[in-house]
Assembly symmetry: C2
Homo-oligomer: 417 residues x 2
């Protein structure tokens, strides 16, 4: 690693940041990758950790192990406190770092839209410890409910409210329904399944909004078949830990609220003094450069860019990955004074699963659902998991679930709460 090579600092080891680091493998650059965690998190399967299907270790992979062979890379476990764009320096929890190029790839975090009681008493589902906390909480609810004599309290303990009809909410509701109806019912012989309710609350009038109407209908029907009460126009305004209050005045006694109804750009984005678009995302040019800061790029969930029809690119792994490739190309081009590439999104389609043998898929003009879509969902997700061993272990756990109607890891373990 030559001292003269310019330094690229990448903030965030999610899908985008990791891809930028990898694609700069052969560039004459020093690359520093910073993350608060020492692992890359495979967020699409986070809901399976929350519902006891797989263990946290299976969707988290040490960054140093992923990038071990990359000679021009240094990893730093730290959180970024501030960026001084004029002197090109970062302040981190482990000291200062100067950069020649900066890639902002911090991703997004749960947005409770200022609902403090929900933030305090409910669960988000974005981080590994969110998922472990949810798993612990659900299992604890069953442990206390079986000994609860008051039927009203018992029902509230066994009522699980999931807020948000996007992919995370739908996948989480489906997996939770299966955990309870296929597995926990066997663990708790004294339990009356009629005491269990799962509600999926959506403030607007559709689930899985980006999918076309017929697939959304399939998804809604599948949810109902799993005894999930799907409610439209249901806006949560308060949750005190024992009851969920809706804007309509309705009160739903429930001890569990999982909030998947909103995300915004990571907190750091708002502290940088840059122009922000919707959801606090940092506005970028089509080259992914931050205006007035040609040596600063932003990609993925944290970047705000509109397509040719004026719609912002969605917060999705595929967008982050494709933007990472463009950013990694544009940095060396900028160094050499060559013209930069504009980001063009290649929509590979969308997949969402609602549980056993059930998913919906939109690939180009093809729309399909059911078993085939579920198989495709499984193959795509296992393939994308980093690490050969993790792929095998997740496959074993899924096969276990699928054939034995069991769940692998329903443990209540310390979760830092």
């Amino acid at each position: 690693m030559s001292k003269e090579n310019p330094r690229v600092v990448i903030i965030g080891a999610g899908f985008g940041g990791l891809r930028v680091a990898r694609e700069l493998n052969r560039a004459a650059l020093q690359v520093t990758l910073i993350d608060r965690h020492n692992y890359h998190l495979f967020q699409p399967l986070l809901y399976q950790v929350a519902t006891a299907g797989i263990s946290p270790e299976e969707i988290a992979y040490p960054v140093r192990a992923i990038l071990r062979k990359q000679r021009n890379l240094e990893f730093r476990l730290a959180s970024v406190e501030a960026v001084d764009f004029s002197s090109q320096r970062l302040q981190t929890s482990t000291g200062e770092i100067s950069y020649d190029y900066l890639v902002l790839a911090m991703g997004s975090e749960t947005n409770f839209f200022g609902l403090e009681s929900v933030a305090r008493n409910g669960f988000g589902l974005k981080e590994l410890d969110d998922a472990v906390s949810i798993r612990n909480h659900i299992l604890r609810m069953f442990e206390v409910a079986v000994h609860e004599p008051d039927p009203e309290i018992r029902r509230a303990m066994l009522t699980f409210v999931i807020v948000g009809g996007g992919p995370t909410g739908v996948e989480c509701a489906g997996a939770l329904a299966e955990l309870i109806r296929l597995v926990l019912i066997k663990d708790y012989p004294g339990l009356n399944i009629r005491d269990v309710r799962i509600l999926l609350l959506e403030a607007l009038d559709k689930v899985l909004a980006p999918f076309p109407e017929p697939l959304r209908e399939v998804a809604a029907k599948t949810l109902w078949k799993k005894y999930i009460e799907l409610r439209f126009g249901a806006a949560v305004i308060n949750f005190d830990g024992q009851c969920v209050y809706l804007k309509s005045g309705e009160a739903i006694p429930a001890y569990t609220l999982i909030w998947t109804a909103g995300v915004s750009a990571a907190n750091l984005a708002g502290r940088l003094g840059l122009h922000q678009g919707r959801q606090g995302r940092i506005i970028v040019k089509p080259t992914l450069q931050v205006p007035d800061h040609p040596q600063v790029f932003a990609i993925g969930d944290v970047a705000y860019l509109e397509d040719s029809q004026g719609r912002p690119f969605p917060m999705m792994a595929t967008v982050a990955l494709q933007q990472a490739t463009i950013a990694a190309k544009n940095i060396p081009r900028h160094m050499k004074g060559e013209p930069l590439h504009n980001f063009i999104y290649d929509d590979l389609g969308s997949l969402a699963t609602i549980g056993r043998s059930s998913a919906i898929a939109q690939i180009g003009h093809f729309e399909f659902s059911g078993y085939l879509a579920w198989l495709m969902w499984s193959v795509v997700h296992v393939y994308q998991l980093i690490g050969f061993r993790n792929r095998i272990i997740v496959l074993i756990n899924w096969a276990w679930d699928y054939f034995l109607y069991d769940r692998a890891v329903r443990l209540i373990i310390p979760d830092g709460t």
Copy 2:
């Protein structure tokens, strides 16, 4: 489950408690099994969680899943606060339970022998969260050490002191040496391996004391070959988090101390008002009954009983399992007024591993070491793991370690500290 059947309450779902519950499967009894955790912990592999070889989920198995088919059993997630032997009632964190027979099987906990600074700044290695805390701490030490400019502080961050030359200390030291020298050295290219020290401190003059002299010699040599500084007559008196102080006056700068030098009966044992032997263990008769309380049995680590030569039975899984079988036979016999069995220990031998391809074994009159002992150790431990899926996953992780010189799960995740 008939209301008239007498109730057996078992405290603790470790090796002993679980075995009693299982063996009472067909008895005309109501069995209530109480534990603070919802899982059975396979303690012999705990050190592998601490050294990032396997994940916590692989050595913990939900009690309800293990005992799901047992119709006369109820599991209760609770901690026991007190026992009233005269009215035959337990106070627990989730209410009162009355019993006709009581089995005390709470096991043991780390004993710091009153060394408060060690208890506060060091780690025990008895519970699942101990192991996760150690894993997080070791990995954090490497993350901070690579950026530490002061060489004295850096060396202290990379000095790992393990106290206690019993099987846990030896296995932990061996696994830690391999984690560092085979895996972490690749993760931290800026790291100078000469800065790393692992010390195994033993207050007396032998490691693995129950094994015969020639095998102890093999173990000591194997530890040295792994660059573990094995020190005899080294008694720790203080640890402030940055330096370990010995009785001799020696000070060893080190940020990590793992204490495996002592265990005592679980805390509850001391609060019951029963007669206690060494290590706070509850004195039992050869029938495993507590004197003056014919309907109360104690087994495993929490029970104190001497063999025919006046030596207390060791705190080992095999003793707990064999005592469990006797207790499960004696309860129905006591109900029927039949004479009770006395406990006779069938010593199946001992196994201990010091790392890759290296172990020592004593089976009856056979003593051997090396690869064959290591293979036997592996087979025995995988076989004893509860759950077919856990066996497969542990095997995959071990094969991964063994053939690729890698470690599966070196993640820093929330650990409740």
